[in-house]
Structure formats: structure tokens, C-alpha cells
């Protein structure tokens, strides 16, 4: 018998005519790991929330959801709460209490378990997750990845039989995301836990999951073994763009046979192509007038603290998109705040368009000159609708290289991650900047919206803007940058045009670059590799 049986479920939000879910049928067996994917607005979150009764949205629902053969409505309250664990996107906001130990105990306190049982279970969980060192710590001292692991542990301590994860790694950096997914996989393998997961970034998840369910506009498009599902997606570019690079290359080549999912399998696909040793020409960056110059910049937050920036040298030329890549805590964000004049450097000089920052008096730096869009775009929102928001910044909708009109009457917080990014960008652009600084613009943004964002940034560049982007996202950088810079321990260690830059890196590089290493030179994007393969033709 299936653990979860969804029978002809349809759902409509109040005041809406189009149903969010339509005739959804599938079942999940115990011990299975199921990934759910679909474009923004396809009903992923609605579906997951319906599976967790306490979080089910208000609206009209038809059809039946059976848990272990029992209709969801008839499951006792306590069992429904404890049997299904649910972890959401934002790690910060899901934590309830101030200390790690208390967060672990929170669910167990709700179950009204006696002290010795709580003590045992909490200890067990802390040991399993390797949390002994942070057990006493305040949660505010944890990193984003640790917070999300804590959220997972705080759910697992209640011993659920089904774990639902709603884009759990969307706000994490790649390393923390991989660690999170590995932990989920370990739980699934070690305990036979059933997992349902949605993700923006399917690269990590798809090779691990047993089945993939694709939603399109509220309907189930496919639900099967991932290779089979992805092989059938060739006419759906909006879904395909979220898939692993190997699968995209497979489709781009129109190859047949088994669809590759990992880099290792992708290499086999490339190996079968003729024309080894072929390559793309190296790119050179053409130097122009500098828009932003950092010379020997030092910065620290505390007088006795460590140097966050250590002799940073970086020059960004007018009219280019420069992506700064680097690990967590390497000081990338700090560099942006120093470049934007929000933090004063302790040594060295920062010049914007040839003029020192301190010579911009009376905040004139932020008028028609430079602007910064922070990582957390919600820090920009103030009003109740997008319309008021744009009016607040005196932003004109017509001048923008993208269309916000359909969103005008919505609340900024009701938008998807990608839409929020665009509204915030519109606000920032209202100051008519010549230099635009972006901090992690792809965080919490799905693949389709990411593609759109790349187009917008290129359009802005064409209009004469200089753009500096700080990001973890190598695939994104490979697609939109004119120049990439590697940031490490407070300074830039290497720069180069993306093709050259990524071909020289072996680990910190795109999946395609790793797939084609040794066979093709300078191939970093799926398009590059596909073009080279086509030149040779398949054997």
C-alpha cells in the first residue's frame, strides 16, 4: 500500500477562476524520494502544502488525499502534525526559538513528551547531525546552511514518516546546498524516510531521486523515473532549463539513448562526439575607461577583528558586466559595500568614474551615478503594492527593459523570488545609475527567471550601464559576464574573460567545462559544447 495516495485532487484559491491544481493523481511509496518540478506558478508549493494538513491554503479542494489508506481529514490531529515533516525555503524565518537546543526540543514540547524522552531524542538528533558543538549556541550565530540543517533536525526529531521539502536550498550557497541535499539523502538511505522535494536547482537533486514529477499549469505532465521524464521534455524549453547540464546537452544535440544526468555520464556523451581537441578561440578583455577602481583596499569591521579585504585590487571598465565569484565569507559582499561607499575602507582608495568616493558630497554618489541592489531584495520594499513601490522611487515603468505591468497591483511580498528581484531592480534603476552593483541576483530565483534576468542585464549593458555582479552561481556568470574575477580571502586572485577564466579552473567552473575537459578547449556553456559537438558530428 502506498504511503501517500493523491486521487484526482483539484484546488482553486478563493477569488480565482483558474484552478491552481487540476486533477492531480499520483502515489508515493514508503522509502521513496520524489522530486517535484515545474515553472513558477505551476502549483508546486500549493501541492506540497495540501499534503501537510496544517499548512493547507484556504480554498476549494476536490479529490482525496490518503495517508496510509486513511483520508487526510480523518487522521487524528496530533498524528497529522508529527507524521509529516515540512521544511520551507527561508532558513532564518523557520526558526522559532533563540537557542539551538530549544529549537530541537520545540516540536517535542508540543508533543507534550516527558523530560527524559525529550532529552534522549534531542541528544540523539544532535549527535546524528553533528551538532554537539553548536548545541548551546544562539541561533543567530549560525550560518545559513547550519540554520537550514537545524530546521531539518528540528523536524526529524519528531520522527516523521514523510518529509516534505519546499525549495530548501534556494537561499543557500552551493556548498551548503550540497551538504543539505546529502544529509537528506543520508536520512533517506539510513532510515527509509520518504522524501518529497521541490527545487529550483535540480542539478544536485535529480541524480538522487527515484522519481520525478513534472507539473505544468497545475496538471501532472509526467511522473516517472527521472531519465525517462527528462528524455521526453525536448519540446519544453521552459522546463528543460532547470535540468542538469548533461541532460540539456543531450537535448541540444538531439541525441538518443539513455539521458545522462551527472557530469560523469555527460562526459561519456561528449566522448562519443568526434572532433576531440577542437576548441573555441580564447577571449580577450578589451580595456576601456575604468568605471570602478579599487587599489590596495583594506577593510575590517572591528578594530581588533580580522581583515575582510586584504589589499584588494580590482578595475571594472565602463560598459562591461563583471562577475565576482568566490566562496562563502571570502568578503565579496563586503567588497560591494565598500565600493558603494557604505563602508569606509581602512586603507587604499576606491574611485568611481575617476573620482574618489569621499569627494562625492551630500549623497550625490547615489544620484545618477552608482547604486547597489543587496542580496536580500526585501530590504528595498516599503509599500503595499508594486505600483506604490515604483512611485516611491519615482520609477517609470515604460523605460524599463522588462514589463512589470501585470504585477502592478500585487503586494511585493506576494511575488515570486524572480519577480521580487525585477521589482527591486526597477526601484534601483530609478536613480539612473551608470554603475550598477548587484549582490547575488540569482538567489531564490528559478531557472526560467534566471534566463530572463540575463537578457535584461545584457540589455542594460547595451544601454551603457556598467554592471558588477557578486555571485556564487558559475553557470550564471558564464552566461552573462564579460569578465570574471575570482575572489579569495579578501582579494581578487585571478581575472579573465569567462571562457578563458572557467577553462583554467578545474573545480570552480561550470558543469559543461568539467564535462568537456580534455576533449574540447574553452567550452563552458551548453551552447558552446553543442556547437563543438555538431561540428564533429556524432560517431
Amino acid at each position: 500500500m502506498a504511503l501517500l495516495d493523491i486521487q484526482h485532487v483539484s484546488f482553486t484559491y478563493p477569488g480565482q477562476t483558474r484552478p491552481a491544481l487540476q486533477d492531480v493523481c499520483f502515489s508515493v511509496h514508503a522509502g521513496e524520494m520524489l522530486a517535484v518540478c515545474g515553472a513558477t506558478g505551476s502549483g508546486k508549493s500549493t501541492l506540497l502544502r495540501l499534503l501537510k494538513r496544517e499548512l493547507a491554503p484556504l480554498g476549494e479542494k476536490t479529490g482525496r488525499i490518503l495517508m496510509n489508506g486513511v483520508p487526510q481529514e480523518d487522521v487524528p490531529e496530533a498524528e497529522a502534525a508529527y507524521q509529516v515533516g515540512y521544511v520551507m525555503q527561508r532558513p532564518e524565518q523557520q526558526i522559532v526559538t533563540d537557542k539551538v537546543w530549544h529549537e530541537l526540543a520545540f516540536g517535542l514540547e508540543n508533543m507534550a513528551l516527558p523530560q527524559p524522552v525529550i532529552a534522549r531524542r534531542v541528544a540523539e538528533m544532535a549527535a546524528y547531525f553533528g551538532m554537539e558543538d553548536w548545541y548551546d549556541k544562539p541561533v543567530s550565530s549560525l550560518s545559513g546552511g547550519q540554520k537550514q540543517l537545524l530546521n531539518l533536525a528540528a523536524v526529524m526529531v519528531m520522527q516523521p514518516s514523510l518529509l516534505i521539502l519546499d525549495e530548501p536550498t534556494a537561499q543557500l550557497d552551493p556548498i551548503a546546498a550540497a551538504e543539505f541535499i546529502a544529509t537528506v539523502r543520508k536520512l533517506n538511505q539510513d532510515t527509509g524516510l520518504t522524501v518529497i522535494i521541490t527545487e529550483h536547482r535540480l542539478e544536485e537533486v535529480i541524480p538522487l531521486c527515484d522519481r520525478l514529477l513534472v507539473l505544468e499549469q497545475g496538471r501532472v505532465l509526467a511522473c516517472d523515473e527521472p531519465r525517462q521524464v527528462i528524455a521526453k521534455l525536448h519540446d519544453r524549453p521552459e522546463l528543460l532549463c532547470a535540468m542538469p547540464a548533461a541532460a540539456r546537452l543531450y537535448h541540444a544535440l538531439g541525441a538518443d539513448g539513455v539521458c545522462p544526468l551527472s557530469v560523469r555520464e555527460g562526459r561519456m556523451l561528449v566522448e562519443n562526439c568526434r572532433g576531440r581537441g577542437r576548441g573555441l578561440p580564447e577571449e580577450e578583455c578589451t580595456p576601456g575607461t575604468p568605471a570602478l577602481e579599487c587599489k590596495e583596499v583594506f577593510f575590517r569591521y572591528d578594530r581588533h577583528g580580522p581583515d575582510v579585504l586584504q589589499g584588494l585590487n580590482l578595475t571594472v571598465h565602463e560598459g562591461e558586466i563583471c562577475c565576482v565569484l568566490g566562496g562563502n565569507g571570502s568578503g565579496k559582499t563586503t567588497m560591494l559595500t565598500v565600493a558603494a561607499g557604505l563602508n569606509k575602507p581602512c586603507g587604499g582608495a576606491v574611485k568611481v568614474f575617476g573620482k574618489k568616493i569621499k569627494d562625492y558630497k551630500n549623497q550625490s554618489l547615489y544620484r545618477e551615478c552608482l547604486t547597489l541592489l543587496p542580496q536580500d531584495v526585501q530590504t528595498v520594499f516599503l509599500c503595499n503594492t508594486v505600483e506604490e513601490e515604483l512611485a516611491d522611487a519615482q520609477a517609470g515603468v515604460d523605460m524599463l527593459p522588462f514589463d512589470l505591468r501585470p504585477l502592478m497591483h500585487q503586494h511585493p511580498y506576494d511575488l515570486s523570488g524572480g519577480e521580487q528581484q525585477l521589482v527591486a531592480l526597477a526601484k534601483v534603476l530609478a536613480t539612473k545609475p551608470r554603475l550598477l552593483l548587484l549582490d547575488e541576483p540569482t538567489k531564490g530565483v528559478d531557472a526560467a527567471a534566471k534566463g530572463k534576468l540575463i537578457g535584461i542585464l545584457k540589455e542594460l549593458k547595451a544601454r551603457g550601464l556598467t554592471i558588477v555582479i557578486v555571485t556564487h552561481d558559475v553557470e550564471f556568470a558564464a552566461l552573462c559576464a564579460d569578465r570574471c574575477a575570482m575572489f579569495f580571502r579578501g582579494s581578487v586572485v585571478s581575472t579573465g574573460a569567462p571562457r578563458t577564466f572557467f577553462s583554467q579552473n578545474s573545480f570552480y567552473t561550470t558543469a559543461v567545462s568539467r564535462m568537456t575537459r580534455g576533449w574540447f578547449r574553452n567550452a563552458v556553456t551548453v551552447e558552446d559544447a553543442a556547437a563543438l559537438c555538431r561540428q564533429g558530428g556524432a560517431e
Binding site: 501537510k52 496544517e54 499548512l55 490531529e77 496530533a78 502534525a81 508529527y82 515540512y86 520551507m88 527561508r90 532564518e92 524565518q93 523557520q94 526558526i95 522559532v96 526559538t97 533563540d98 537557542k99 537546543w101 530549544h102 526540543a105 520545540f106 517535542l108 514540547e109 508540543n110 508533543m111 507534550a112 513528551l113 516527558p114 523530560q115 525529550i118 532529552a119 534531542v122 548551546d136 544562539p138 543567530s140 530546521n151 523536524v155 519528531m158 559595500t337 558603494a340 557604505l342 558630497k361 551630500n362 549623497q363 547615489y366 544620484r367 547597489l372 541592489l373 543587496p374 536580500d376 526585501q378 530590504t379 528595498v380 520594499f381 516599503l382 522611487a393 534601483v428 536613480t431 552593483l437
Partner: protein
């Protein structure tokens, strides 16, 4: 090694209540002197260096000691006349005593704050009202989060050019702006926290409480010891019956009064005694190894 900070929070709270309460309500010069000295010793022991806080308290002490003779004209021993008002010796001394009391109490509260971590606070409040303890814990979680977020918002809004000019009115408006952004952010994201609570079964029924601290023999000893010593001190103060106005007077020092003062002296030094005992024990352990 079990220092004073490791004792059961309820026992520690009762200790502070006793030692501070007696200092506040018994305007007896000996008690006040003992209390001030004990508070300073305990402060040095539990909180380490105070730095600038000491100078602030010294200033406060001087101001308060001088105000009383200027506004209060009780007392029989007139020192001199100022603006047709007599300044009396009793009022002067009372001022010094009151200032000493305020400063001693301030130091006791500082000691209390030094050892009362949020875990301990939660433990105490949890006994009173578990739900209140939860709100407390949630709030303590939000405070650093909001602090960090407020900084981010301020930077974001500055970079948007919304602080305009470098003047006071604009920066006040800027402050309001930041606060307003914070409110939206906090309320909207709070819903996620609430969902996360519901998802983990909050509100289904009675909750239990996971306690990080337990009662050990030493805690019970501290609790009963504090109460007994405080009781003895109160009896001593009562026997002494010290009065400031109209003239300074007190009953003669009898055995009870001496015992009371002694008890209070021991009470104020309890943390130091515990500390010394542990240090000696540790020393013996090391040398016997």
C-alpha cells in the same frame, strides 16, 4: 568545577532577591556598607572588569548624595543655612546612605544580568508561564535578527539614494523609513515562523517543557542558606532599629544585631565563598593526581 553561575537559576534568583531586597528596604548603615562591598566583590568575580560603568556609578553616587541635603530639611543638627533653608547633618548622611543603597542595588542587578543568560531566564519564566517563556524565547531570537536586518535595510536604502541630504531631518526621515521597511519585513516573514510552529504541532494541546537545569544538593543548599541568612539579617536589623530623622539613633549593638550583620556579610559573600571552595577543591584534585 561548579561556579556560582552554574547553580540552578531559581536558587540564584532567590539569592539575588534576598541580597538586593535587604539592601533596598533596610536603611541601615552597616547593612549598606556590607552590601556595597559585597556587590563590588561579586561584580569583580562574576563580570570581571567594569570599565566605564564604574565612573558612571561614581558620578551617580555623588549627585545623589548631594541632592538630599539640598531638598530635605529634616533633622536637628543644622550645619549651615543656605537660601533661608537649613542644611542638616542628618539629611547629608541620609543622602550618602541612600546613594550607597542605589549604587549597591545597581551593582547587584549588574551581577544578576551577568549570570542570567537567556536559557536561565527562560527556565525561571517557564515555571511561571510556559507560553510566556516561549514568547520570550521567540523575542530573544528576533532581537539579533532584526538588528542585523536593520543594518542591511539602512545600507540598501542609502544606496537607493533615499537619505537625500546629510542633515538631521532627512536622517530622521531615513530612520523612519528603515523602521517602516523593518515592520513590513518582520510581519510578513513572521507568518513563515508561525507556519513553521504550526507544522511542528504547536497549538494542539498542552505542551511539556524541556528543562536544561535540574536541582542538585548544592542548589537546595544555596536556596535554604540564602533564605536563612536573609531571615537572620532581617531580625538583626529589626533589633537594631536604626533611624535617621529627626536625629540619628539606634538600639545598642546586642548579640542579635551582631549576628544579623554577620549573616548579611556572609550572604553578600556567598558567590565568592562558593568560588573559593571550588578553587581549593580543584587545587587538591590536581595535587593528588
Amino acid at each position: 568545577m561548579r561556579g556560582f553561575a552554574d547553580y540552578n537559576p531559581i536558587a540564584a534568583a532567590v539569592y539575588f532577591l534576598a541580597v538586593t531586597g535587604i539592601a533596598m528596604f533596610c536603611m541601615d548603615p552597616v547593612i549598606l556598607a556590607l552590601s556595597l562591598a559585597g556587590a563590588l566583590v561579586t561584580f569583580a568575580l562574576l563580570c570581571g572588569q567594569g570599565g566605564r560603568a564604574h565612573w558612571y556609578t561614581l558620578g551617580l553616587f555623588l549627585v545623589m548624595a548631594l541632592i538630599n541635603p539640598l531638598v530635605s530639611h529634616n533633622g536637628v543638627t543644622v550645619l549651615f543655612v543656605m537660601n533661608h533653608n537649613p542644611v542638616t547633618l542628618e539629611a547629608l548622611l541620609y543622602g550618602v546612605a541612600a546613594a550607597a543603597m542605589v549604587v549597591a542595588v545597581l551593582y547587584w542587578f549588574r551581577c544578576f544580568s551577568c549570570i542570567m543568560t537567556s536559557d536561565k531566564l527562560l527556565y525561571i519564566f517557564g515555571g511561571l508561564s510556559p507560553r510566556l517563556a516561549l514568547i520570550l524565547s521567540m523575542t530573544l531570537r528576533y532581537v539579533p535578527l532584526f538588528g542585523q536586518q536593520a543594518k542591511k535595510v539602512k545600507q540598501a536604502q542609502t544606496a537607493l539614494g533615499l537619505y537625500k541630504e546629510d542633515n538631521l531631518i532627512d536622517s530622521f526621515r531615513g530612520g523612519m523609513r528603515v523602521f517602516s521597511v523593518m515592520v513590513t519585513w518582520a510581519l510578513e516573514n513572521g507568518i513563515i515562523t508561525a507556519d513553521s510552529m504550526t507544522a511542528r504541532g504547536y497549538g494542539l494541546g498542552k505542551r511539556s517543557r524541556f528543562r536544561l537545569f535540574r536541582w542538585r544538593a548544592g542548589d537546595v543548599l544555596l536556596l535554604t542558606g540564602s533564605l536563612l541568612l536573609a531571615g537572620l539579617a532581617l531580625m538583626g536589623v529589626h533589633a537594631r532599629a536604626f533611624t535617621w530623622y529627626p536625629a540619628i539613633a539606634a538600639a545598642p549593638m546586642d548579640a542579635l544585631a551582631i549576628a544579623g550583620y554577620g549573616a548579611y556579610g556572609v550572604l553578600t559573600l556567598l558567590p565568592a565563598i562558593i568560588h573559593a571552595k571550588e578553587a581549593i577543591k580543584w587545587h587538591c584534585l590536581i595535587s593528588s593526581m
